[in-house]
Amino acid sequence: MSVAPPIEVSHLSKTFRTTSGHQVVAIADLDLRIDSREVVAIVGQTGCGKSTFFDLMIGLERPTTGKITIGGKTPYDDFEHFRGQIATVFQQDRLLPWRSAIDNVCLPLELLGLSEKERHDRALEWLVRFGLEAAAYRYPHELSGGMRQRVAIARSFVVQPSILLADEAFGHLDEVTATELRETFVALARELGSTAILITHQLEEAIAVGDRILVFGQSARLLHDVRAEHWPTADHALLREAIQVTLQTNVADARLARSA
């Protein structure tokens, strides 16, 4: 795995046109920088542009204006450059139903052109790390929700990416499983030296995992950029309250702007 380069976002905007012809501004003039090996949580309310930012980060959408650069290259225009360097975990596991757990984990390695033996060995190694060796040859429908998400996380780690993105990846799981998986995810990202970006709408999750919390308001406006060293370790109540007030004010402002 190469050293994770810094991520720079400058004047990033993304506008969609709805089927009725209206323009929706998902992201408006976003500027931020994420350093190498940082674990960043992006928190914001539903519809604030977090997922659009996720799509732009992985290079599946082209920015309307501005740009995202990772080590000087853009994920959309230099799509192939980032093969094996960026990996994602989605809200749903998105396992291919016709592949067994191990074959699902092998998928990114197949796309990288690794030999069958190497693919198998590496996939099995990651399944073992997630305690799934007994379920390696089961199909997704034979696994529980938590097991399926573990397979999905193993699939993202198997390429040992320099950048890991998780979009609400733990929100649909029960609290115990979500906490365990979240901690494992962050610990492994730190072990690999990857930059990890976790998108969530749960404040607790953001506070629990991040070196840094980016609070997005409507149209992905950056409301807060809080670093771990600046918040008290024992009691997060004040921080939580501050972010909640900021988010509520932002929602109220957006409503006022719309009605005006």
Binding site: D55, I58, G59, L60, F79, E80, F82, R83, G84, I86, A87, T88, F90, Q92, R94, L96, P97, W98, R99, S100, L107, P108, E110, L111, A134, Y137, R138, Y139, H141, E142, V159
Partner: protein, 258 residues
């Protein structure tokens, strides 16, 4: 521990007892009708007994059966490849689809008998005529089924695979093709039964070999027993091919929840 093996939704169906009874009753009624036909004022030639049908079956030429089956299979493979290639092309380019799709719908509306007549008038080679008729009949069905299936591939799965940055060929082989396989197999089943019927008509009109041609000879000889024998062979061949397809389906789709 792996879960217990469950009965698959794609298990090969066994002939139920009711079906066996119905078939045996039909056979007995037919044999009785054949026996009493002269007393009922029906020409015995019109209702041949099993003895005569068995005699005709014994004289069936395997070469003709083989020729018909090869024609069906080769034409289906060509239709499948053409249909799939067109479907992928339309899937990738909506503007192309907007121009070509109406033409494909037009092809699908043309009756088979018209295609046979066109083939006889346009082409000299018998094999090409038959292949042409089968391809223009089955190809559009493969195309429409494949295109619908391609469009039905989950957006979430496409996004997941694309996030790993595959080449277009990898996207097709790792995601699209396995995702549309169930629809393609269903399309094969539909087209197989259609092709068996169409090839018979095509051979009946313009071939000198094959089951259709033998049926034409039987008709000229007023031999209902021969017509029966060839028809039985045709139905049996269709059942065997469907069974093979079901086995392939059971294997290819073993991942499906039963």
């Amino acid at each position: 521990m792996l879960p217990e093996r469950k009965a698959s939704a794609y298990a090969v169906p066994r002939l139920p007892r009711e079906a066996v009874i119905a078939l045996v009753v039909l056979a007995l009624l037919w044999e009785a009708l054949s026996y009493f036909a002269p007393h009922l004022g029906i020409a015995p030639i019109a209702v041949p007994g099993f003895g005569k049908i068995a005699h005709s079956l014994a004289s069936v030429t395997p070469v003709d059966v083989g020729v018909t089956l090869v024609r069906v299979l080769v034409s289906l493979v060509i239709s499948f490849v053409c249909g799939l290639v067109l479907a992928i092309w339309f899937y990738r380019s909506e503007s192309v689809e907007r121009y070509v799709s109406p033409l494909v719908r037009l092809l699908m509306a043309v009756p088979v008998i018209s295609w046979i007549l066109f083939a006889v008038l346009w082409f000299k080679s018998t094999e090409f005529r038959i292949c042409f008729v089968l391809v223009v009949t089955c190809g559009p069905i493969f195309m429409v089924d494949a295109l619908d299936a391609l469009r039905g591939v989950s957006r979430e799965l496409r996004q997941m695979v694309r996030s790993f940055r595959p080449t277009p060929l990898q996207l097709f082989t790792k995601l699209l093709l396995p995702a549309i396989t169930p629809a393609l197999l269903t399309s094969w089943k539909i087209n197989l039964s259609l092709a068996i019927r169409v090839v018979t008509i095509a051979e009946l009109v313009g071939a000198t070999t094959g089951i259709g041609h033998e049926l034409a000879i039987a008709e000229e000889l007023f031999s209902v027993a021969d017509v029966f024998a060839w028809t039985l062979i045709l139905v049996a061949a269709l059942f065997v091919l469907e069974w093979v397809l079901t086995r392939i389906e059971a294997r290819a789709l073993r991942w499906r929840v039963s």
